[in-house]
C-alpha cells in the first residue's frame, strides 16, 4: 500500500513537471508582456532593462528552471500587471473559486447519484424517463448558455437571485473570505453553482444509472433479494457500492474539471475567483499569474486522481490483495 502511494506520488510529480513545461513553452507565443507593461513612450533601453529585470532575456530552459525553483518554495514571482506577489493574489482569489467548486461539486455528486439510482430503479416510470430526457439538455448545452438562461430567468424575469458577484463576504481568519455566512453570499452562490455543476451532475447521473442497471442484473443482487433483504438494502448497500469504482473515477475527473472550468462560469457571473483572474492575466500576458494558475490546477487534478486511486482500494477489497501481490 505504501509502496503503491509512493509510486503514484512519483508519477504525479512527473506529470506536474511536464504540464509546467508545456504551459511555459506556450506562453512564449501569446505575446510580449513588455508591450503591455510599458506605455507608448518607451525607449529601447527601458525595454531591455525591464526584460533583463524580469529574466525574460534568459534562454527558455533557464527561465523554466527558475520558475520551478521558486514554485517549490511557494514563490511564483510578481504579477506583471498588479506588481504584487502572485501567491498573494491567488490566495486572495482562491476562496471564491473553492467555495463555488465545493457547492457545485456537492450539487453534482449528491443529485447525480440520487437521480442515477432513481432512474435505474424506476427504469420504466414516467418520472425516470422525463429526467433522462431532460438530462440530455444538461449534457448538450454549453455552460455559458446555461448560465445566461439562468440569469435571464431567475435574475432578470423573476428577480429572485443576483446575476453577478459574490454578494457580501465575511473574513475568516487572515485571508479566507467566505460567502457562506451571509444571506446575499448564499443567494449569489446558487446560480453559478448550478451552472458549473449541471453538466457534471447529468454525467454522473447517466453513469450511475447505466452502472446500476448492469449491477442489478448480477447474481449477488438476485441472491440478496432471495434472502428477503429490504429494497433499500439491496439498492444502496449491495448495488450502489458495486457501481462505485467507475463512478468514483469519473467523479474525481469531474471535480478536477469543475475547478478548472470555473473560468467560464466565473466570467459569465463576474465571480471574483482565480478563473476570472486567469482570463484577465491572459489579456495582459501576465506570465507569472498564468503559470501559477496552471500549476495550481494541475496539482489539484493530480491530487484528486491520487485520492481516487487510493479510494479504489477502500471500496474494493479484491484490489487490496492484488496490490500486496498475494495472488
Amino acid at each position: 500500500m505504501l509502496a503503491f502511494i509512493i509510486r503514484r506520488v512519483g508519477q504525479s510529480i512527473l506529470v506536474l513537471l511536464i504540464v509546467g513545461l508545456v504551459a511555459f513553452s506556450m506562453f512564449r507565443f501569446i505575446g510580449d508582456p513588455i508591450d503591455n507593461m510599458l506605455g507608448q513612450e518607451r525607449t529601447m533601453e527601458d525595454v531591455e532593462r525591464l526584460r533583463a529585470q524580469l529574466g525574460l532575456d534568459q534562454p527558455f530552459p533557464v527561465q523554466y528552471f527558475r520558475f520551478l525553483e521558486g514554485a517549490v518554495q511557494g514563490n511564483f514571482g510578481v504579477s506583471y500587471r498588479q506588481g504584487r506577489p502572485v501567491a498573494e493574489i491567488i490566495l486572495e482569489r482562491a476562496p471564491a473559486t473553492l467555495e463555488l467548486a465545493l457547492v457545485s461539486g456537492i450539487f453534482a455528486v449528491v443529485l447525480g447519484i440520487a437521480l442515477g439510482v432513481f432512474t435505474a430503479i424506476r427504469r420504466q416510470g414516467i418520472g425516470a424517463n422525463v429526467i433522462m430526457a431532460a438530462s440530455l439538455i444538461g449534457v448538450s448545452l454549453p455552460t455559458f448558455l446555461i448560465g445566461i438562461l439562468l440569469i435571464y430567468l431567475f435574475s432578470v424575469e423573476l428577480g429572485w437571485l443576483p446575476s453577478f458577484g459574490r454578494g457580501q463576504t465575511v473574513m475568516i481568519g487572515e485571508n479566507w473570505s467566505t460567502g457562506f455566512l451571509t444571506e446575499s453570499g448564499l443567494k449569489a452562490l446558487i446560480l453559478p453553482a448550478i451552472t458549473l455543476g449541471l453538466y457534471q451532475m447529468t454525467l454522473i447521473m447517466r453513469l450511475v444509472r447505466s452502472e446500476m442497471l448492469e449491477v442489478l442484473r448480477q447474481d449477488y443482487i438476485r441472491f440478496a433479494r432471495a434472502r428477503g433483504l429490504k429494497d433499500r438494502a439491496v439498492y444502496f448497500r449491495h448495488a450502489l457500492k458495486n457501481t462505485m469504482v467507475p463512478v468514483v473515477t469519473v467523479i474525481g475527473l469531474q471535480i478536477g474539471s469543475i475547478i478548472a472550468f470555473a473560468i467560464i462560469t466565473e466570467t459569465v457571473f463576474q465571480w471574483p475567483g482565480v478563473g476570472l483572474l486567469f482570463i484577465n492575466a491572459i489579456q495582459f500576458v501576465d506570465i507569472p499569474v498564468m503559470a501559477a494558475y496552471l500549476m495550481l490546477i494541475s496539482v489539484m487534478f493530480v491530487g484528486i486522481n491520487l485520492i481516487v486511486d487510493i479510494l479504489y482500494v477502500f471500496i474494493d477489497p479484491r484490489l487490496r490483495v492484488d496490490r500486496a501481490g498475494a495472488h
Binding site: R225, R227, P317
Partner: protein, 324 residues
Amino acid sequence: MTGPVLSIRDLSVEIPTRAGVVKPVDGVSYDIGRGEILGVVGESGAGKSMAGNAVIGLLNPPAHISAGEIWLEGARIDPLQGEAMRRLRGKEIGMVFQDPLTSLNPLLKIGDQLTETILTHLPVSREEAERRAIAALDEVGIPGAAQRIDSYPHEFSGGMRQRVVIALALCAEPSLIIADEPTTALDVSVQAQIIALLRRLCRDRGTAVMLITHDMGVIAEAADRVAVMYAGRLAELGPVREVLTRPQHPYTDGLMASTPLASQARNRLHQIPGSMPRLTDLPDGCAFHPRCPLVQAQCRQNPHPNIGKGRAACWFPLIERAAE
C-alpha cells in the same frame, strides 16, 4: 404441523413474447414434506428453475404465475405481493444459486452479509446476530468460523463459498430451501461434500429441499423423491429408487440410458434423438412424442397426458407395456 411443507397445485407460468404466450411451466403439481429432498430434474429449458423462481416470487417480469396455487406450511403464498413476499424470502424460503463465485457480494464481508440477513428476519440484537452468523458458518463446516467472519468472498475457494451461500440461505431458519443447480459449478470432489452437507442440514432441521439439477447422479445421491420435467410439464414423479431403476415414462428411461455411470463400462452412451421442442413451437398431443421411441397414434392425437394412477404422464407407461 403435519402435511407437506410445500405444495404446488397445477402451477403454470406464462411469458408473453412477440411470438405469442409461452408456458415454461404448465400445470405442474408436487409436494415436498418435512426433511424431504425432492429432486427436480430435466434438460435446460424444461421449466425446473422457473418453477423454483415462481415459488420464491422471483420471476423476472414479464414472466408471471398464470394459474395454480402454491401453499407453504398450510398458507397460500402465490397471491402475495411486494413486502409480504419479501418477508417470506429468506425467512420461510431460502435459496441457493448455481454459481457461488457470483452469488456473494464481492465488496461485503461474509459476516456482514450473514448478520444483515439475520437482522432482517429475526428480532435479535446485533451481538446475537453475529453469534448466530459464526454458528451458521461453523455448521456448514467453515474451519475457524469466528475468524473467517471478517473475510471477503474472494478469500474463499469455490466449495467454501458455496458453503457460505448455504449458511446464508439457512441462517434465518427457513422451512424450505430451493437449491438451483447448487453443485453444477463445482469440482466433482467438492460436489459430493456439498450434497452431503445439504442432506445433513435438512435431516437435522427438518427443512424441505427442492433440489433443481440436470445431473441424474446428484439426484440419485441426494433426493428422496424425484420429479422429471419435460417442456414445462411433469413427465414422472415418484420415489427416487423406483423412478431411477424402473422408469415408467419413456423420457425418463432415455434420460437414464444417457447418463454415464462409472460402474458400467459402456462404450457408447445412448442418445435421445432430436432435442426438446421450443416452447413457442410445442407439438400437438404429448410434447415428447416426436422423440419417443414407443410413439403411437394416440400420442399424437390425444391432448397431453396427465399423471394418472401411475407415476408417469404417459398414455402408455413402460410398466404396462412390460406387463403386456
